[in-house]
Subunit: 245 residues, 2 copies
Amino acid sequence: MRLRVDLLPHGNYPDVVLVIDVLRATTTAVTYLEHGAEALLLTATPEVALALRPELPEGESSPVVLGGERGGLPIPGFDFGNSPVEAAAQNFTGKTVVMNTTNGTGAAHTAAQTGKHVFLAALVNAHAAARRARATATEEIAIVCAGTDEHVGLEDVYAAGVIAEYLLAMGEFSIDDGARIALTLRRNSGNPIEALGGSGHGERLNSLGLGEDVRYAAQLSTSTLVPTLVGGEDVPGGTLKFIAG
Amino acid sequence: MRLRVDLLPHGNYPDVVLVIDVLRATTTAVTYLEHGAEALLLTATPEVALALRPELPEGESSPVVLGGERGGLPIPGFDFGNSPVEAAAQNFTGKTVVMNTTNGTGAAHTAAQTGKHVFLAALVNAHAAARRARATATEEIAIVCAGTDEHVGLEDVYAAGVIAEYLLAMGEFSIDDGARIALTLRRNSGNPIEALGGSGHGERLNSLGLGEDVRYAAQLSTSTLVPTLVGGEDVPGGTLKFIAG
């Protein structure tokens, strides 16, 4: 079995793909599903997301809510930002959450182009994501770091190293240079809060007053839920549907 | 001053760029110039390289020689491969060496699109490359890892970390996540021969019987020569001209 870590999305995934955008999209995705959401629809653009909101009579609660960010800031017309802390304070039972974020949703779309099995992974579901990947894969597990605006994000590579370490504990893998780098980083960058807080993205979120999100994202394996890509005729064009798995 | 390490070529370089393809293109480039070559012409494709060979009367020695590889193997019609050991055994006095390689020459072309000052760096000229970058830069030093077929190469990130470490010794820098990752890798991957030999590319070269090239490339600061991009009307289209600096 091959274990591959792409420090940025690359494509050509033949088998299992774990998509990581630990600050904050995949952490938030896990949180939405933990807090009752029926499904997540990841869209390639904010416009696709906005078009998915149904027109409803005044006062009627929508079964669809929109969450996302551009450059870390809320998107006009969206109901929620991209904050796992904000998501954890709500109940999404019966709701579909439409998500669009700067890097994470794009990485998921790249993964879905060829991947047979696509999951969302973060530190909060690291054990579960590793187990699911290991149980599903037949030839390759690719861990794909979303990065930030096409630059490598230390926080994603660190999280990839955490999951890679679990996978190596479960069995034999041939690993690539990306995995070697992620493992070295994981073993030499301190604990998750130190690693995430010391990344450029973590520093930026802290300076925006979003340090609680960084601390939330640094929790290890607090969820056993793995967002799982599913197909089907009910999935709107331009979106990827993930359900709790 | 900013210090940035791109784990793969990205573009948008405003100032100084150090291009690294330690196995083997930039190591070999330094070696050609060390062994007398007047200039290097890095071409975007093998075809551009082949077109630069002059037609000469039989028996006359050409002032232009071609060196390069595709996938680690020699290119038909070229005089040399991409081996620093092979280059070190020759005398290139008065010659122009036209180089085309799988990853290194492409990375140099990406760097040259916007970079004000473009240099080739490797472990063999690490001290000199760091000094030159520091002396030249006014706002940013970008160290660009060529990688292998759009995948991150551990050997290049390690070498970037070596040079980043020297730069940090010389003065204050704000660093990005790529630099943080490269520094962590450099500090935790053993000595150069261990790091290069343990990379996927190093393993492949060893298995092709090219282990001598890996050991050559793992030498630290044996040259004070920094290949330097120069312009001018005599530079053929589709090529970048580097001279000893």
